[in-house]
């Protein structure tokens, strides 16, 4: 049994009076798709931010690929192979799709200020290979023909894909997707499910936060259910669907989610 890609132990963070995440422990084994679900305000996004270095945990430990990474800045974690997308899409205005994705190659390219200013042959070669890699990924996601469009002018669903592409070209060991289906229509959501599946098939481990039960249930191998920052349940989709606590907190919540891809809360 190889070591899990991500291992979280006793993680906790409070904002003022609110205990957003409390004594949370779980692990993400290599190669799986793991989903974190829970009603609004359950602390899913906070958990993501704690894990990916966008917020500092008060307590607990985060081990990534066998090393303690708690409290490391986000760019450091990215450098160690953790890539993420955002709930509110974070694309750079004024840059084309390709340029946006190219930023994802940052940690795989070397050229510094001077080399870049002088366009040294090595730099040119490096950037050429980077472009090729990015174009491949764009093709893989079916965005090839949009490469030169301005990213922020694309349709919402396509912008999400661009973010995904940017994360993929980082060649991460762990891919964090923060509500990847938010704001997508049914078709797009189904396509996304397929895409995530294909990505995972390449051996990439995926951890996602998602509201869309349909998506979660049909793609994820493991599911972690949060409620008020604590773990309610953890297990494979079938087990979760039967778990009484899960059913209670969801039915307890006014806008309950049923395992039906047609309905979703955003």
């Amino acid at each position: 049994m190889t070591e899990p890609v991500l291992e979280v132990r006793g993680l906790g963070r409070r904002f003022g009076g609110l205990q957003a995440v409390a004594d949370l422990s779980f692990s993400v084994p290599a190669g799986v798709i793991k989903a974190v679900i829970g009603p609004n305000g359950a602390g899913k996004t906070t958990l993501f931010n704690l894990v990916s270095g966008y917020a500092l945990p008060d307590t607990g430990s985060v081990r990534f690929r066998g090393a303690e990474v708690r409290g490391l800045p986000a760019h450091e974690l990215a450098g160690r192979g953790m890539a993420r997308t955002f709930q509110q899409i974070q694309l750079v205005p004024g840059m084309s799709v390709l340029e946006n994705v190219l930023t994802g190659r940052h940690r795989h390219t070397r050229a510094g200020f001077l080399a870049s200013m002088l366009r040294l042959p090595a730099t040119v070669r490096e950037s050429r290979t980077a472009r090729e890699r990015c174009l491949e990924t764009l093709a893989f996601l079916g965005l090839a023909d949009l490469a030169d469009a301005e990213a922020v002018s694309l349709a919402y669903g396509q912008q999400r894909l661009v973010e995904l592409a940017r994360a993929l070209v980082c060649e991460p060991a762990l891919l964090l997707l923060d509500e990847p289906a938010a704001g997508l229509n049914m078709r797009e959501t189904e396509d996304l499910a397929g895409t995530i599946g294909r990505i995972n098939a390449t051996g990439l481990t995926v951890l996602l936060v998602e509201h869309d039960m349909g998506l979660v249930m049909n793609i994820s191998h493991e599911i972690l259910v949060l409620g008020a920052g604590r773990r309610i349940a953890e297990g494979d989709p079938r087990a979760i669907q039967r778990n009484p606590d899960v059913i209670r907190i969801y039915l307890g919540e006014e806008d309950a989610d049923t395992p039906d891809p047609a309905r979703k809360t955003v």
Partner: protein, 363 residues
């Protein structure tokens, strides 16, 4: 890549224009026009650096004249301050042994012994870079207005120090700065004899800088900087070390300003506190803004025209008024600048009701 293609095209066109102007001026026996064009060129070095820092990396600096002044004043001081009387002090004798001292006659029959101009220039630029590097750390923990205040404050401090210290000539500044000999037979000086060569030197430097910065913007670094500007979250998510890049680009801009300061000081044979004033810093920011923030060429084009006309006293006592007016008009109606047709795209998007990229100039 597209950026490169355009970059070359523009650079080539600019080079042609530079030669064209010189030929036109010489053949029309109006070489003197090159004076203000040369001075404008050096100002453009500051502007290009600031455009990179402000327009692409999105970090406003309201104290760029400070770095210009550090370069100019330090070079001027080292090349005019007479070390003759201090010959026996350790530092001076060391300099002497390193052949870093020269002696020249001063105005009043005596002679001054001072540091080699090129050595002084190198020192001045290095010093500016070091200062930039030192303050970058704390400065870039600040954002928005706080960042503006910090850089503004830096500019004011530099100005007051030069204005207050008699070593730097207080209100009179420093004059009688010697020529800066770079190659045998070529020196940076305002003398009419070497006007054409200096014109080419200045604009050659501008061309080189433009080319290098265009490369930089098209490179991974440039993308990283723009990513930092557009979304620091996104930048961090792909592993871009934001703090380090902000520092590096800040230092780069400071170095360009200092280089301009050194060369223009030698060209003018002096420098005064007005070159370090807040108003100068504001002017640099304004030129970048008028050029369209993230638009090196726009800044270069608009900046050259405005600086040239202003230096020629074209606007008389309405100089600042014209300047402020243009600045306002541009910021209101074409925040992305006239050059590069950004304004047309903007107008279209206005009519189509969208206002995307309205905040492209955001800090």
């Amino acid at each position: 890549m597209a950026a490169r293609g355009r970059g070359f095209g523009f650079t080539a066109g600019l080079a042609a224009a530079i030669v064209l102007v010189q030929i036109a001026a010489s053949s029309a026996h109006k070489v003197f026009y090159l004076t203000q064009l040369t001075m404008a060129a050096y100002a453009m070095l500051v502007v290009l650096g600031l455009a990179l820092l402000m327009g692409y990396a999105g970090q406003a600096s309201m104290g760029q004249a400070g770095f210009f002044a550090i370069g100019g004043y330090v070079a001027a001081f080292l090349t005019t301050f007479n070390l003759g009387p201090r010959r026996d002090t350790l530092l001076v004798s060391l300099l002497a042994h390193a052949h870093l001292l020269v002696t020249r006659p001063d105005g009043s029959g005596g002679s001054v012994t001072h540091v080699q101009p090129w050595a002084a220039a190198l020192f001045a630029i290095t010093l500016a870079a070091a200062i930039a590097w030192l303050i970058a750390g704390p400065v870039f923990r600040l954002r928005g207005h706080y960042l503006a205040m910090a850089t503004l404050g830096f500019g004011i401090i530099v100005h007051r120090i030069f204005l207050g210290s008699s070593y730097f000539g207080a209100a009179d500044g420093i004059s009688d700065v010697p020529a800066l000999a770079l190659l045998p037979g070529f020196a940076i000086t305002g003398r009419a004899a070497s006007r054409v060569s200096n014109y080419y030197a200045a604009w050659g430097l501008v061309l080189l800088t433009l080319w290098m910065l265009t490369n930089l913007i098209g490179s991974r670094i440039g993308r990283a900087l723009r990513a930092i500007h557009g979304s620091e979250n996104a930048a961090a998510a792909v592993g871009i070390p934001i703090a380090r890049f902000k520092t590096q680009v800040f230092v780069l801009a400071a170095v360009l300003a200092a280089v301009a300061g050194v060369l223009l000081t030698h060209y003018n044979g002096g420098i005064g506190p007005s070159d370090a004033s807040v108003m100068k810093s504001v002017r640099y920011v304004a030129i970048v803004a008028v050029g369209g923030m993230a638009n090196l060429r726009g800044a270069l084009a608009m900046g050259t025209v405005l600086t040239f006309l202003s230096l020629r006293g074209y606007f008389g006592s309405f100089d600042d008024l014209v300047f402020g007016g243009i600045l306002l008009a541009m910021m209101l109606f074409a925040p992305e600048g006239l050059v590069g047709g950004a304004i047309w795209r903007r107008l279209r998007s206005m009519f189509s009701g969208k206002r995307r990229g309205d905040d492209r100039t955001g800090a």
